[in-house]
């Protein structure tokens, strides 16, 4: 993979031009921290063109297995008119790439790609201007073929133009980009560049990195999350060959060994006397615990009219509570990182979503100047948010510092399931009033969710060892989409931001937007059923007239799914297996990507088993850089979220997580994956919006609504386990 092939990046300024050299092998800490610009307003921060005409793209956003690397290449290739094969991408290296924030929130293309596009468009305009001057023709008279500017009077390559004049330009965000009808590469389903290496097993993951003299470390986490290590018996692992060091700082314990298997065995066998800690709530009473948590702030996210008065005077009133379980990221590969101290400086390789932030966190933990730390991104297993990568990076840094040699840390499965930060418990109360015709006259909702936003999640190693940390609570921007896209006459949506939540929270794919959309779109379905109106018609009536694109995704998904208009539930509720369909609409964060989905389900009324048989999605994220990439993201969103909706739930006792493997944390299996039909709407003249998360938001409510349609039973608690169906059916 690209990042792995760039060893010893040697930067030099030759005749004012930036030149990057490549050599085979793995990244090496000996590579100098460079003087390459990384400021977000400089073209040379994003682009370099070498003397052979090869283009290197530098981006702060990273490819987390989503395919954005290919998208970045397409954007640069398109604006510069350079073949894709001549483009390389460097991602998330604090010494080389601009800080473009964390790769989350479906912003890699929308923000990161657009910034790269502006840099490339600025470079193109400048290079064409220089070429025109040199060739003695007006700018309108030159064209570009494969990185060579061509005019009737002659040709000159980008390489030559950059060698002479450099690329030291300020990015002009108004520089003209290629119009849709001139695009040849952007908008095409170009196959992903990373896939061949992955199917042939070539090294590329951070897990594959080897640094000279590297040792292997493993953390030994407390058996109860708040326990501290009172005593460590090093003799308990004396029989294991190759042990280098046992590191014990407060509640942080780790082992370092010459080889990986010895480190694994040592971490498993090391005898530690831990203090006792039972600070977690009773899982059976988690929602009582959430309701009883102290409220830091009541955050009103939408307010119009007087919903309380409207509901008081309503002909019919509905109320319901929706809850969404605590989830783990559950990455396929346990988190991994390599750290090396050399000459007082730390190089840290990890699969962090935000190496620039991680750099500051590591510097703080280690009491080092930030500029003495370099964090380099290498791909990991899909993370779907802030999983354990940063924590493994911190473990590796602590252990490497302790032993004075490079250390690779890879967590075991139980470390990942037990200690990655969790998607917090999410509870929403809703109330609505309907008039005699079934129209909503008032709507109120309250979400009970932890305070905090995106940003940094504290490093576990810092917390356990008592090192400096920011003490932030960062669950992601989980307030989004409690506000509604509909033209309700009176509405108030409030996020009760809780001081605490049982587990260190972080964002997991579609944080908050998913849970709030689950509550809103299911409760809206309750209103439609109460009004005895077809659920799609009900939504179309509520959408304001200016929401043309919103109406379109709903109308398209209705056609795609061959939707038969009728109110829910369906009429024949007898028989062991019954079928139904449910719809959901979402305008992501009320400002971008539009999605509508239809789920078709089969439900066994006796056992409570829910099978999703077909999922349809109509998707409008504006311009698509790579429709193939968008399609795979949408498919992934649907399947991942079906897994979360139907099966996933963290379990824990009073001291720690107990769902520590794939047996106790059940996820979707091949036979349970439904047929998926996706319709992508391409709008090449519009802005490119995100696609990595939005379609996940529509899944839980579409399934809940389909179960209701099939059975008349309303599923208001994720995951939709058979026992919950049976309990809900008894209550109906």
């Amino acid at each position: 993979m690209n990042a792995m092939n760039m060893d010893r990046r040697s930067w030099l300024k030759a005749s004012g031009a930036l030149v990057v050299g490549f050599a085979a092998g793995l990244p090496n800490a000996a590579a100098a921290w460079t003087d390459k610009p990384v400021a977000g307003d400089q073209v040379a921060s994003f682009l370099a063109i070498d003397q052979e005409g090869n283009v290197t793209v530098y981006v702060g956003k990273v490819d987390l297995g989503t395919g954005v690397r290919t998208g970045f290449m397409q954007i640069a290739a398109e604006e510069l008119d350079v073949p894709l094969a001549r483009i390389r991408v460097v991602e998330g290296d604090t010494a080389l790439t601009p800080d473009q924030g964390v790769s989350y929130g479906s912003l890699s293309i929308q923000v990161g790609g657009v910034a790269l596009r502006a840099a490339a468009a600025t470079a193109r305009r400048e290079l064409l201007s220089r070429a025109a001057q040199r060739l003695g023709v007006p700018v309108a008279g030159v064209g570009v073929q494969d990185g060579v500017v061509v005019a009737p009077t002659g040709r000159v390559s980008y390489a030559e133009l950059v060698r002479v004049g450099g690329l030291e330009l300020k990015v002009d965000t108004a520089a003209p980009i290629k119009p849709p009808n001139a695009r040849r590469i952007v908008g095409q389903a170009i196959p992903r560049v990373d896939i061949p290496d992955k199917v042939f097993g070539h090294p590329g993951y951070v897990h594959d990195l080897k640094v000279e003299g590297m040792l292997h470390g493993r953390p030994v986490r407390p058996p109860q999350m708040g326990a501290t290590a009172e005593a460590v018996d090093e003799s308990s692992i004396a029989h294991i060959p190759g042990i280098v060091r046992v590191v014990h700082q407060g509640a942080f314990v780790g082992v370092v060994a010459e080889n990986e298997w010895s480190a694994v065995k040592a971490a498993r066998d090391l005898k530690v006397r831990w203090s006792s800690w039972e600070g977690l709530p009773d899982q059976a009473k988690i929602w009582e615990h959430v309701r009883a948590s102290a409220i830091a702030q009541a955050q009103v996210t939408q307010e119009r009219g007087d919903p309380a008065a409207a509901m008081a005077g309503a002909a019919r009133r509905l109320s319901a509570s929706y809850d969404f379980a605590i989830h783990t990221h559950g990455s396929m590969g346990p988190s991994c990182a390599v750290a090396e101290f050399k000459d007082g400086r730390l190089t840290n390789w990890s699969a962090s979503q935000g190496t620039h932030n991680l750099r500051k966190q590591l510097a703080m933990m280690l009491a080092m100047p930030v500029d003495q730390v370099r964090c380099i991104y290498l791909e990991g297993a899909g993370c779907y948010g802030r999983n354990g990568h940063e924590d493994a990076a911190a473990d590796a840094a602590l252990l490497a510092k302790a032993v004075g040699r490079p250390v690779r840390v890879q967590w075991m499965r139980a470390d990942e399931h037990g200690w990655d930060p969790k998607g917090p418990p999410h509870l929403v109360d809703l109330r609505a009033g309907l008039d005699t015709a079934g129209n909503i006259v008032g709507w109120e909702s309250e979400a009970f969710i932890p305070k905090g936003a995106g940003g940094n999640v504290d490093l576990t190693a810092a917390e356990l060892s008592g090192a400096p940390r920011e003490s932030l609570q960062s669950p992601g921007n989980i307030v989004h989409n409690l506000a509604l896209p509909y033209a309700l006459p009176a509405v108030k949506t409030t996020c009760q931001r809780l001081e605490t939540t049982p587990f260190r929270p972080s964002w997991i794919r579609t944080p908050g937007r998913m849970q709030n959309t689950f509550a809103n779109e299911s409760f809206l379905d309750e209103c439609a059923a109460e009004a005895k109106v077809d659920p799609i018609d009900y939504r179309l009536r509520l959408l304001p007239p200016e929401e043309v694109r919103g109406r379109e995704v709903l109308e398209r998904v209705a056609r795609l799914a061959n939707w038969q208009k009728r109110p829910s539930p369906q009429r024949d509720l007898t028989g062991e297996w019954v079928t139904g369909r449910g719809v959901t609409f979402c305008k992501y964060e009320l400002v971008r990507t539009y999605i509508a989905g239809v789920a078709e389900v089969s439900v066994n009324r006796g056992t409570g088993e829910i099978r999703v048989t077909h999922f349809f999605c109509a998707h409008d994220c504006g311009q698509m850089i790579n429709p193939g990439g968008v399609r795979t993201q949408v498919e992934g969103n649907i399947i991942h979220t079906l897994s979360r909706t139907l099966f996933e739930e963290l379990t824990y006792d009073r001291g720690a997580v107990t769902s520590l493997d794939w047996g106790s944390y059940r996820v979707i299996a091949f036979p349970e994956v439904p047929q998926i039909t996706v319709e992508l709407i391409d709008r090449p003249a519009e802005a490119p919006w995100g696609a990595g998360e939005p379609s996940a938001a529509i899944v839980p409510s579409a399934v809940s609504n389909a179960v209701f349609d099939a059975t008349g039973v309303r599923m208001r608690s994720v995951p939709f386990l058979p026992a919950k169906f049976k309990a809900a059916a008894q209550g109906t």
């Binding site: 196959p191 060959p241 298997w261 590969g333 499965r413 795979t632 979707i668 299996a669």
Partner: protein, 155 residues
């Protein structure tokens, strides 16, 4: 007490020196032989990321003692095919773009390759059942099934 274990890996005869014959084969493949195709996923035999071929079967190398591979023939993803001589499943995974993060892809391909060797013309339902204990978190499942069916159709 270290000992030498002789085995054939990807067509090469190799000798591996180990301190502990109970060390899982995966660590020998990745760390001693530099084979990065098989991945550590769970070390419990639940997810499939570490799958290799051993005398035609498709065991999980993170729970298989290295000593039990001694004298036998192992094949990893690297040995299954190369860019120059790809296995039909590797071609099919590229054609179907059946990879996102790719961490599970080794298991998907290796499990399916052993399966197709014995069941060359499977139904989709058989493929899904064969992969029931292979986990993917990115949601590539339909493309993986399509890739296996595509490879099967090539005979």
């Amino acid at each position: 007490m270290s000992q030498n274990l002789a085995m054939t890996v990807n067509g090469r005869n190799v000798s591996i020196t180990v301190d502990d014959p109970d060390m899982p084969l995966l660590y020998a493949l990745r760390n001693e032989l530099g084979l990065t195709g098989p991945h550590f996923g769970c070390g419990l035999g639940q997810c499939g990321a570490c799958t290799v071929h051993l005398d035609g079967e498709a065991p999980r190398s993170s729970v298989l003692p290295v000593a039990s591979a001694a004298g036998k023939t192992s094949v990893t993803l690297e040995g299954l095919g190369t860019p120059e001589r790809p296995h039909k499943l590797q071609q099919a995974f590229i054609a179907e773009q059946a990879v996102q993060c790719g961490y599970c892809a080794n298991g998907m391909i290796m499990q399916s390759a052993a399966f197709l060797a014995k069941t060359p013309r499977p139904t989709e339902a058989q493929v899904k059942q064969e992969l029931v204990n292979n986990i993917c978190r990115c949601g590539t499942h339909p493309r993986v099934v399509a890739a296996v069916m595509r490879a099967a159709a090539q005979g």
